[in-house]
Structure formats: C-alpha cells, structure tokens
C-alpha cells in the first residue's frame, strides 16, 4: 500500500491548520457583520463630539461668522463661572436623585406585585407598558395641563384654588419629577422583575424554615441576590434622568430655575446659535456623564458585564 498515512505529527498539524483557518474565518466574518453597526455608531457620535471639542475652543456665533476666533479654554471658564450652569447642575441633580430614589422603591413594589399576583397578571403587565410606550412629550402635556390651574383637575381636587404650580422653582420641579417618575417607573420595575425571578426560590424557603420574618427575608435574602439587577437598573435610570429634556422643556421651557443641562445645551447651541460656548456646555455634559458612569463602575462596583448583551 502506497497510500500515505500521515504520521501523528502531520495529522496534528492538519487539524491545527484547519482549526485556525476556521477561527480566522470566524473572526473575519464577525468583523464584517458588525462593521456596519460600528461605523454608523461612531460616525454620528464620535465625529460630532470631536467637532464639539474643537468648536468649544473658539469664540463663534452663527450670527457672526466673521468674528470667529481661537480663545483656548476661555469658553469653559465662562461656563463654569456662570451661575446659570450651576443652577442647571443643581436642577438636574435634584430631578435625578429624587426620581431615581422614588422609582427604585416604587419600581420594586411594582415588580413584587407583578411577581406575586395571580389573577390579572397579564392585565397589570400590559397596563404598566403604557407609560413606558407613550410619547414623553404627550405625557408631559398631560401632567402640565392636569396641574395647570385653569385647565386641570389637581387644584380643584386638592382645594388649591388658583395655585400656580409653574410659577416657582420647587413646585415646577415637583411636577416635572412626578411626570418623569410616572413615565419611567415601568422600565425600572421590569428590570427589577427580571432580577427578582432569578432569586432562587429554595433560598427563600430555607430562610423561612429557619424562622426569618418576611422583612428579614427581603433584606437578607432577596435584595442581596438582586444586587446586580438593582445596580444596573439604577445606573441606566441615573444616566437617563441626567439627560432629562422633554418633561421640563414642555412644562416650563426652563423658566424659573428649571433649566436642566440638556435644555441649557439645546438653548445655547440651537436657540442662541452660540456654538463656541454651547459646545463647551456639550463637552461638559458629556464629561459629567462619563464621571457618573465612572463613579458607578469604580465606586459602587457595578458589574457592566452583567448588562444586556454582556457575556
């Protein structure tokens, strides 16, 4: 027989080569398939952001293109020493902190009800999706007109006469935050529900057998086992609330100290076409989001590999 029987060394080499061929092919296919998504995402975020960084170093108004000149970091100094910026930071911070805290508690209660309810489970889940799906501008109008003294029912129900909710800062922020909570609690409650159903039932049962009260079981068993889901939900909602725009824009358009960072960026760039200082606001807004994400990941050890899509 002259058929060449490959020795053990050669066979291994053949196997290795075809294996590495496959790995190579897989790598190349993976890159090709994800390239379109990658390019679209980069083109519309990284490039404009770089553009904003460059713009922020110039004095530049669209109404006065000839007056464009390089001024270094002066725009940042102007923005950071302006009380308008710090007022926007405070407003955004208050809305974010209160809405996320309330939504976490409320969302957990909702998740718990959805987890335990037997009759009407699908009706509750359906109803909770309506605030999630509704246009934010629409819900902002509904809340605005409900609280407005002349068109709404709130004042007459609570005997508030002609109290103008949108006449001062804190009552305006109350309505804005309330509307935000109504709209986004469903999302957080569904994320928490997903975490809740993953808490092993045996653990609950074992704790109960050991004589733990319902309250102890909640704090010692359920919540610690949901930590990943809770942190991810809080991180998502915090960053989402931090860029809040629709609700305050529709309700007050930023009047009476209710201007958020996103409204400030919008007003500087689009309304006043003050592209130099506006770009500085944009860059600072971006940096503040990075800072928050950094605090969550390093400070609170939020494990982002637990997030959607991570492996």
């Amino acid at each position: 027989m002259t058929t060449a029987v490959p020795g053990p060394m050669e066979a291994a080499a053949v196997v290795r080569r075809s294996a590495s061929d496959r790995v190579l092919h897989e790598r190349r296919l993976g890159l090709w398939l994800s390239a379109p998504a990658f390019i679209v995402m980069i083109a519309v975020t990284a490039y404009p952001l770089a553009y904003a960084v460059v713009m922020s170093l110039y004095q530049y108004r669209l109404t006065d293109p000839a007056g464009r000149s390089f001024i270094g970091l002066q725009n940042y100094a102007t923005v950071l020493t302006d009380p308008i910026w710090w007022s926007a930071v405070l407003t955004t911070f208050v809305i974010t902190a209160i809405s996320v805290a309330v939504e976490l508690v409320l969302g957990f209660c909702f998740a718990w009800v959805m987890y335990r309810i037997i009759r009407g489970r699908s009706i509750v889940r359906t109803s909770i999706l309506v605030p999630y799906g509704i246009i934010t501008v629409v819900s902002a109008f509904v809340f605005r007109y409900s609280f407005q003294a002349d068109s709404g029912f709130v004042n007459s129900w609570f005997n508030l006469g002609t109290f103008n909710w949108f006449g001062q800062r804190w009552s305006s922020l109350f309505v804005i935050t309330f509307s935000e909570i109504w709209k986004t609690t469903p999302f957080i409650s569904l994320l928490l529900l997903a975490g809740l159903v993953q808490v092993p039932y045996d653990l609950q049962e074992a704790a109960q057998v050991d004589g733990a009260s319902a309250w102890q079981r909640l704090w010692r068993v359920t919540l610690p086992n949901m930590k990943a889901a809770i942190m991810v939900a809080v991180l998502f909602r915090t960053l989402d609330a931090w860029r809040i725009f629709d609700n305050p824009f529709i309700m007050t358009a930023g009047a009476n100290g209710t201007e958020t960072l996103s409204i400030l960026a919008y007003r500087q760039n689009v309304t006043l076409v003050n592209l130099g200082a506006g770009s500085a606001v944009s860059v600072l807004l971006f940096l503040s989001v990075l800072l928050i994400a950094f605090i969550f990941v390093k400070g609170f050890r939020t494990d982002l590999s637990q997030v959607r899509g991570g492996q």
Binding site: E26, R28, G30, L31, A37, F38, M41, P48, Y51, A52, M55, C109, V113, M114, R116, I117, I118, R119, R121, I123, V124, R125, T126, I128, L129, V130, Y132, G133, I134, I135, F141, V142, F143, Y145, F153, N155, W182, A194, G195, A228, A229, V232, F236, L239, W242, R243, F249, S262, A265, Y266, V270, S279, S282, V283, F286, V289, Q306, V307, R308, G309
Partner: protein, 277 residues
C-alpha cells in the same frame, strides 16, 4: 400557606397599579372631548359637560399635525427597518461568533445608549446645515438609526443566544440543504426576537423629541412630538389644551395597540437580555 386572602391582596395592588398607569390617559381622553371654548368654566371638571368631536376635527384639518403624523410614521418605520437589519448582523456575530473587537462592540453600544444626546445637537445642527440635510427625513433617520442600534443589538443578541442553533445542523443531518435548514428552522426561531426588537425600536423613534425639535424647522420633517410643542389650537384666540389632548390620543393609539397585542413579547424584550441569566 398562600391563602385566598393574600391572593386577593395582590389582586388589589394590581388594580392600584392599573389605575396609576391608566389615570393620566383617562384624563387625556376626557379632555380631548371637551369644548375648546368653554372647558374652563365650571372649575375644570374631570369629565366634559358636553362631548364634542371638534378637537379631532381641528387637529386633522391642521397641516402641522397631519404632515407631522406622516413624517413620524415614515421616519420611525424607515429608521426601525434599517436599525433592525444592521443590528441583526451585529447581533448574530455577537451571539454566535468569536472575534476580536466583540467586547469593544458591546462596550461601545453601552456607551452610546448612555450618551447625552443634547451634547450632539449643536454639532449635528451645524454639520447637517453644511451637508444640506437639515430639516429632511434623512437628517433624522441617521441619528435615530445610531441611537436605536444599541437597544436593537442588545435585545436581539440576547434573543439569538437563546436559539438552539444545533437544530440547524440536526436538520442538515436529516437531509435538508443549508438554505432549507436556515429558512425552515432558524428563521422561525429568530423571527419573534427580531419582531420584538422592531417594536422596541419603533417606540424609541416614535417617542424621540430632542433631535426632532433641533434638526427640523418646517413641516417637511417635523415629527409629532416636535409639532405638538408648536401647536397653538384652531386659532390664536383659542386655548390649545383640548386640541393637544386630541392629537395626543391619536398618537397614543398605535402605542396602546402594540402594547395590547404584544404585551408578552415586549416584556420579554425588555427583560430577557437586561440582566445576565
């Protein structure tokens, strides 16, 4: 241990959630049927004193609203279609293939999902004017595609990961061609995930306001959320409240219909890939 009593208790709280979610909608519905000239009389009662279709006639005879409805539907559907197709390739790669750059891809999708869109309106506003796509459909479709992609990629890759891909080979062993195995086995398994992703993406595009109001200036591309913020009612002497509520009811109908039809899938889409199982 689970008595009938506690079961009733949970049902009661379920009803509370239902009321909480539906209440603003009921008021929106009621107000949309109030008389625009007289609804303020009588201490703004909850229900209309006389029901009227006038507000619906007003919004449908207003070019601002009807063109916004067209723009919203067109832009949202096109952006959703494109986003789902582009994301499908990426999600397949992420769920099924090993390649360098996969982690980068996922981290970037995450970063863009959290990106402050307001930081981009200035540069985009300026760039779009230069490119001549300011106030056009394409000028909104491009950024919508970008910001919808992360959601689409995550949701779909989570769905794709649950597909029993061995069945494809099993079908081929049973004599099916590669194409048959893909079309008859994989497509039916993947379709629900793709469809659910499309619904979530559509909600995002239908809802978007900041870019819509920054990158449009006329009826040519202004979408519903942006148009609503400009709406002034039948005449400048009339309060726009009731007409805006009528317009709101009209644009909420698609959302409610989708939610009613696909509740189970939407919940699965929002949660399946949310946290690692």
């Amino acid at each position: 241990m689970e008595g009938r009593k506690t079961s009733h208790w949970w049902t009661f709280w379920g009803v509370v959630i239902l009321l909480w979610a539906a209440f603003p909608l009921v008021w929106m519905f009621s107000t949309s049927f109030k008389d625009p000239n007289t609804f303020r009389e009588g201490g703004s009662a909850f229900w209309p004193s006389a029901w009227t279709w006038e507000n619906y006639r007003t919004v449908f005879s207003d070019e601002l609203f009807t063109s916004a409805l067209r723009n919203s539907a067109g832009i949202a559907l096109i952006a959703t279609g494109l986003s789902v197709v582009v994301a499908m390739f990426a999600a397949y790669a992420i769920a099924r293939l090993e390649f360098r750059g996969k982690r980068l891809m996922l981290s970037m999708a995450l970063a863009i999902a959290m990106f402050p869109v307001a930081a981009l309106v200035g540069p985009l506003f300026n760039m779009w004017r230069g490119l001549g796509i300011y106030d056009t459909w394409i000028g909104l479709i491009i950024p919508y595609l970008t910001f919808a992609l992360p959601l689409s990629i995550w949701t779909m890759s989570a769905f794709f990961r649950q597909i029993p891909w061995e069945m494809e080979q099993a079908a081929q062993v049973d004599g099916a061609t590669a194409w048959q195995a893909f079309r008859k086995v994989i497509v039916p398994l993947a379709a629900p995930g793709v469809f659910t992703t499309a619904i979530l993406t559509f909600f995002f595009c239908w809802n978007e306001f900041l870019l819509a109001t920054s990158l449009t200036s006329t009826n040519a591309a202004r979408t519903v959320p942006a148009a609503l913020s400009f709406f002034t009612g039948a005449s400048q002497f009339q309060s726009p409240v009731t007409a805006i509520m009528a317009a709101s009811i009209v644009v909420t109908i698609p959302v409610v219909v989708l939610v009613l039809l696909f509740q189970r899938r939407i919940v699965a889409g929002l949660t399946a890939g949310a946290v690692k199982g």
